[in-house]
Structure formats: structure tokens, C-alpha cells
């Protein structure tokens, strides 16, 4: 048989491509639920670690159990700080707002508020909020846990897609970097609200930490991500702080 004719070549490639497409489509459909379960457990684990709960060594089920045990309520807010919708926090049907990338576009002014800013409130009153932005090689994102007073940071956890191992990747891998956040205060209404400073934060500055040596671009990117998102959350936290002040009077 002539395997070099035009008709044969076209038919052959078409058949091969259709078969491969079928296999891949089937695999993607079949594996999607377990992949999403992994992503969900990872997101939950990152939020818990931001709030200073240890999740190392836990499997997916334990992470979800822990989250369900610690979470009080979750909802999304709009740019004015008003609640948009509730997120389900019951163990069987944990709902997360994971459109951080789309939301980040919205925050940058590319399109309206399509997703809503998620707010996760734990039983001890700690609020966990996400941030998302551009690192050096790809996106960086993370979670900030904020004490009930609305400005003290209880902890933070960050992740990245492809920052340099040993340098930018330390935002995730280096506990010493994360632990700098603990006890810092967000300066609501100021610019910047929080600062990651190359060369080291001045002693006594309450809203700043040291950048990572050799990872200036990642540090700046993370700083941008945190500040963009804090700015978006400001109306919500102003409401919290005002309500607290009114309560005390």
C-alpha cells in the first residue's frame, strides 16, 4: 500500500488525532473530580496554615475535617464591603471562592466585579482573606489571617506557580519568611497598607517586613498582590473596625 499518497496521509492523521483527542477527553473527564478534590484540600490547608494551624502530615479528608471544625462562616463581599452571598461551610458541601485570578483581573480594572471577595471567618474570630498577583515567573498568591481587631496579622501563607527554587520559592518554603508577618499591623488608609522592604524593614515599623535577598522581583510582586487586595478589602474591614468601636462606646 502506498503510505505516502495525499489521501492516505490526510485520512491517517485525521484518524490518529481523533483517537488521541478521544483518549485525552475521556481521561480529563474521568480524573477531574479527584483533581478538584486535591485543589480544594490544598486551598483549605493553606488557609488553615495562614491561621497558624498545622496541617503537615494530614490527608485530604483530615484537612477538610479540620476546616469544618474551625470555620464559623464564609461569604463574599463587593468593593463597598457589602455582603454578596454566603458560602457553604458545612462538612459535606464546603464551598470556596476560588476565582482568585479572575478577581485579580477585576481588581486591576479589567472588567467589573464578577466574582466577589471571599471572607472566611473562623470560630475564634480570625478572618482569613486571600491575595493574588504576579511574581517573577508566574502568579503568586496566598492567605492572610487577621485577628478580630481587624488590623493585626495572625499569620500568612503563600504559594506560587514557578518562582525560582531557593530564592523566590522561599515565600512558600521558608517558615522564617512567613513568621515575619505574625503580629504585624495593617495600616488601613495609608499607602502602602503593608510593605515588604528590600534591604530590611526599619525597626519598629509596624506594617513592614524584610524582603527576601536575591528575590526582589518575587518580593515586590507579593507586596503588590497583598496591597492590591488589602485595598479592595478596606471598606469591609473599615466596617468591622467601626462596628467594634461603636460597640465599645
Amino acid at each position: 500500500m502506498n503510505t505516502n499518497g495525499n489521501i492516505y496521509t490526510i485520512v491517517y492523521t485525521t484518524v490518529i488525532v481523533v483517537i488521541v483527542a478521544g483518549i485525552l477527553a475521556a481521561a480529563a473527564t474521568f480524573l477531574k473530580p479527584s483533581q478538584q478534590a486535591n485543589i480544594k484540600a490544598e486551598t483549605i490547608s493553606q488557609m488553615l496554615q495562614a491561621a497558624q494551624f498545622e496541617t503537615a502530615g494530614m490527608n485530604n479528608v483530615q484537612k477538610l475535617d479540620k476546616y469544618a471544625a474551625e470555620i464559623d462562616r464564609a461569604f463574599t463581599v463587593d468593593a463597598q464591603g457589602a455582603k454578596v452571598k454566603d458560602l457553604d461551610v458545612s462538612r459535606g458541601n464546603i464551598e470556596l471562592e476560588d476565582g482568585l485570578k479572575a478577581q485579580n483581573y477585576a481588581l486591576a480594572g479589567k472588567g467589573g466585579y464578577t466574582v466577589g471577595l471571599p471572607v472566611y471567618i473562623l470560630k475564634d474570630g480570625v478572618t482569613v482573606i486571600p491575595c493574588y498577583g504576579a511574581g517573577l515567573w508566574g502568579p503568586v498568591w496566598g492567605y492572610l489571617a487577621i485577628e478580630p481587631d481587624g488590623c493585626t496579622i495572625k499569620g500568612a501563607y503563600f504559594d506560587h506557580e514557578s518562582e525560582t527554587a531557593g530564592l523566590g520559592a522561599r515565600i512558600k518554603d521558608d517558615p522564617a519568611f512567613r513568621s515575619q508577618f505574625v503580629g504585624k499591623k495593617i495600616a488601613w488608609g495609608q499607602e502602602p497598607r503593608f510593605d515588604i522592604i528590600k534591604g530590611g524593614a526599619p525597626a519598629g515599623q509596624q506594617n513592614a517586613i524584610d524582603a527576601i535577598t536575591g528575590a526582589t522581583m518575587t518580593s515586590n510582586g507579593l507586596n503588590g498582590a497583598i496591597n492590591n487586595w488589602l485595598k479592595a478589602y478596606e471598606p469591609y474591614f473599615n466596617g468591622i473596625i467601626a462596628a467594634k468601636a461603636a460597640e465599645e462606646e
Binding site: 503510505t3 491517517y12 480524573l31 479527584s34 486535591n38 484540600a41
Partner: protein, 202 residues
């Protein structure tokens, strides 16, 4: 060549990294931790073996003019399948994320398509499969050797378990960066050539 030679040659005398100098990029990128290197080694071995097998089965019917495209389609399918499967298991999900784009980039690993072109298209399925697996193993072996030193000296750990740090060792940041992997690879080539004298150019 006997089947035994087909299998052993790529691991020792014809090692794809140290002798053919293929697949260097990924061996610099994924050898920061042993776990990552091990998963990468297994993934490349699976992709290489199965792609060679499939291409060998198809070899008589492939139109010569589009054979590279057909190879690409088959290899890409294998790579995507491996990536999807790694993502869907709890145990491998974190490693897949750590390896990020490098699993997907197996498709650009010269070893895979190089072996299909050089071997699978001219040989029966079983030897082709063995050749693919052997080349993946040869690649993986070097990866694991490099990762062993990089994780031990760069992080003070092995498989994430603290080894040197508790003895007061301060991890060396240079070891974590890709240039050190190149230096290590050079050392491995040096050692191999001084043992196997017939590899030295006259």
C-alpha cells in the same frame, strides 16, 4: 544487539545524559529535591517506553512526510496523561505542582523523540519498549544522582528528612541554583569517562 544489550546500553555506555548529552535542561531544573527527581524520572521512563511502543506498532503505516507530527501527537498524549494522573492522586499532587511546567515539558525532552526516530521506527514493539524504558532509566539514574547531592548540600535533607542540618550544616544556596547541577553533571561525565576508557575521544 541482544535484548539485554538493548536494555543495558542506554543505562551505562550510551547514557542519554552523560554520553549523548540529551535532556540536559530538565536535569538542571528538576533536581533540587530527590522526590521531584524520582517522579520526573518515572514520568520520563513511562512516557519514553509507551511512546516507543506505540510508535513501533504504528511504524509500518505512518506516512513518511508526517511522521514527526504523528510522533509529537503520540508523545504529547502520553505526557498529558501522565500529568493528569499525577494531578489526580493525593500523594503525587504536591510533587506535580512542585515540578510545575517541567512535566508538560517532557514532550520537548530530546530523549523521547530521539529514541523514537533512532530506534522505535525501525524495530519491533518489544525491543522498542525496552529501549524506551532503558533510556528513561538511564536519564532517571543521572537525575537521582544529581538530586541526591543537590538536596543534601542545598537543603541539608534527603527526601525532605533532615540529615545535615541537625549537625549544624548551613545549606549552600549555590547548590540549589541550576549552575551547580551543570557542575555536578560535568563531574559525573568525568567519572564515567575515566572508568569507561573507550568513551574518550582519541
Amino acid at each position: 544487539m541482544t535484548l539485554k544489550e538493548t536494555f543495558l546500553n542506554p543505562i551505562l555506555k550510551g547514557n542519554p545524559i552523560t554520553v549523548l548529552v540529551l535532556g540536559i535542561c530538565s536535569s538542571l531544573a528538576v533536581t533540587v529535591t530527590l522526590k521531584g527527581a524520582l517522579v520526573m524520572a518515572l514520568s520520563v521512563t513511562v512516557v519514553c517506553g509507551l511512546s516507543s511502543l506505540v510508535m513501533s506498532l504504528l511504524r509500518k503505516g505512518i506516512p513518511n512526510r508526517v511522521r514527526i507530527i504523528v510522533q509529537l501527537v503520540v508523545v504529547a498524549m502520553m505526557v498529558i496523561l501522565v500529568d493528569q494522573i499525577l494531578k489526580s492522586f493525593e500523594a503525587t499532587y504536591a510533587i506535580d505542582k512542585q515540578l510545575s511546567v517541567y512535566i508538560g515539558l517532557i514532550i520537548t525532552n530530546c530523549i523521547v523523540m530521539g529514541r523514537i526516530e533512532a530506534f522505535a521506527l525501525g524495530n519491533k514493539p518489544w525491543p522498542s519498549f525496552l529501549d524506551g524504558v532503558a533510556n528513561g532509566t538511564g536519564y532517571g539514574l543521572i537525575l537521582i544522582i544529581v538530586a541526591f547531592f543537590r538536596e543534601l548540600l542545598g537543603s541539608g535533607t534527603l527526601f525532605g528528612i533532615d540529615i545535615l542540618n541537625r549537625l549544624g550544616y548551613v545549606p549552600n544556596n549555590l547548590v540549589i541554583l541550576p549552575p551547580f547541577a551543570l557542575i555536578l553533571l560535568g563531574c559525573i561525565v568525568w567519572v564515567q569517562r575515566s572508568i569507561q576508557k573507550d568513551l574518550q575521544e582519541k
